[in-house]
Amino acid sequence: MFQAIQLIITRDPALFEIVALSLRVSSTALLFSTLVGVPLGAALGLSRFAGRRLVIALLYTGMGFPPVVIGLFVYLMLSRSGPLGSLNSPLIPALFTPGAMVVAQSIISFPLVGGFTMAAVMGVDPQLRQQVRSLGATPWQTTLAVLTEARVGVVVSIIAGFGSIISEVGAVMMVGGNIEGRTRVLTTAIVLETSKGNFDLAMAIGVILLGLAFLANVAMLSLQGRAFSNE
């Protein structure tokens, strides 16, 4: 296994770029889906408003939505004749760029972050919320306190979101195009090398992907670990 990795690194320095791009795209997407998913999950878990059930049903659907369909959707939106692509706005990424991949991965992962965060927050004793308010918390401070109590579950939600995108291939292939040196990531590289018959290389890249996913999860777990101990 290590031999295989060594082989790639010496044979193909471009692999570093692929690894770096994979991490960059997925971590940016994870940042966006956390920024959307955690507040959304907290709002759904802690407040009652009209349309809440509908939003939850949509979120649950999103949690199991096929990534290729999201890829297709993003493709159609961003393509030059699509509703967003035709705007030519500098804020909207073009197809076949890392930006487009970030968009697709954000859409894939935020329902997972939101859904699991909601579940974690709902698991916190509602009486604790009253206790916190009674100690003088504003609504904001109360939400923060509940998220802190639910921190183990919130970190799990982010890990689930990360898992859904670092290993995803269909959507990034469609909207990224697997262009060498520009939008090739680990998963699309595996697909390509396999189709070319380079099974040992494909396998080695797969090992790297596994290793990276493991390291990323260890890093996130340590976040959780610190949350377990005293302040």
Binding site: L128, L135, G136, N230, E231
Partner: protein, 243 residues
Amino acid sequence: MSDFVYQLRDVTKEYNGRRVLQVDGLDIRPGEIFALVGPSGAGKSTMLRLLNFLEHPTTGRIHFREAEFNPSRPMPLKLRRRVTTVFQSPLLLNRSVGANVSYGLRLRGRRNSGRRVEAALKEVGLKHMARQRARTLSGGEAQRVALARAIVLQPDVLLLDEPTANLDPYNVGLIEDIVQALNRQRQTTVVLVTHNVFQAKRLAHRVALLLEGQIVEASDVEMFFESPRDPRTAAFVRGEMVY
């Protein structure tokens, strides 16, 4: 100073259309220990939630100092922060004991609260436990931390919901002493919910009996126990069931 901290007028509280509280008029005076007794389900905890402005009344109004709390008007944060509750169960945060006690101060933006936290923990006899995780405390310790977390805020009004239920006599005595000292030294107004009539007798200046959401009788402690006006009070004081 005015002669009331709270003034309740025609206050009702309903859940799903069911009325669980109906208080036509009640004043709570500054610096008193006011005990609220009554059987389970009478509405005692509900009353405390209203007095802490955690829930709005369905109808009526609660005057607190210069402000009015009613079905639609919230209590300003500054006044709300003059009141705090110790609930029936300790409800500690999953953090250290020290972090629990300093929590309310940090909500108010006070950073260097170390000395006050230490003093509050000392008062409840848990001086050396600041670093321990709250989850690992015994029941009595947890309840004392909950009390420390409230008194560190030096509230004007302390609401206590069965603070000594399920505790051993040692912890009961400790908590009663702390509440009494707080009331004497800081003139903290205390509303104490208990279904232990002896505790009410030991601590309270005035006592009210709540039955099915209504106040049957509210009077000075001697009067309440020695010559109750209402036969249901007499029965409750004698320890008879009054459902």
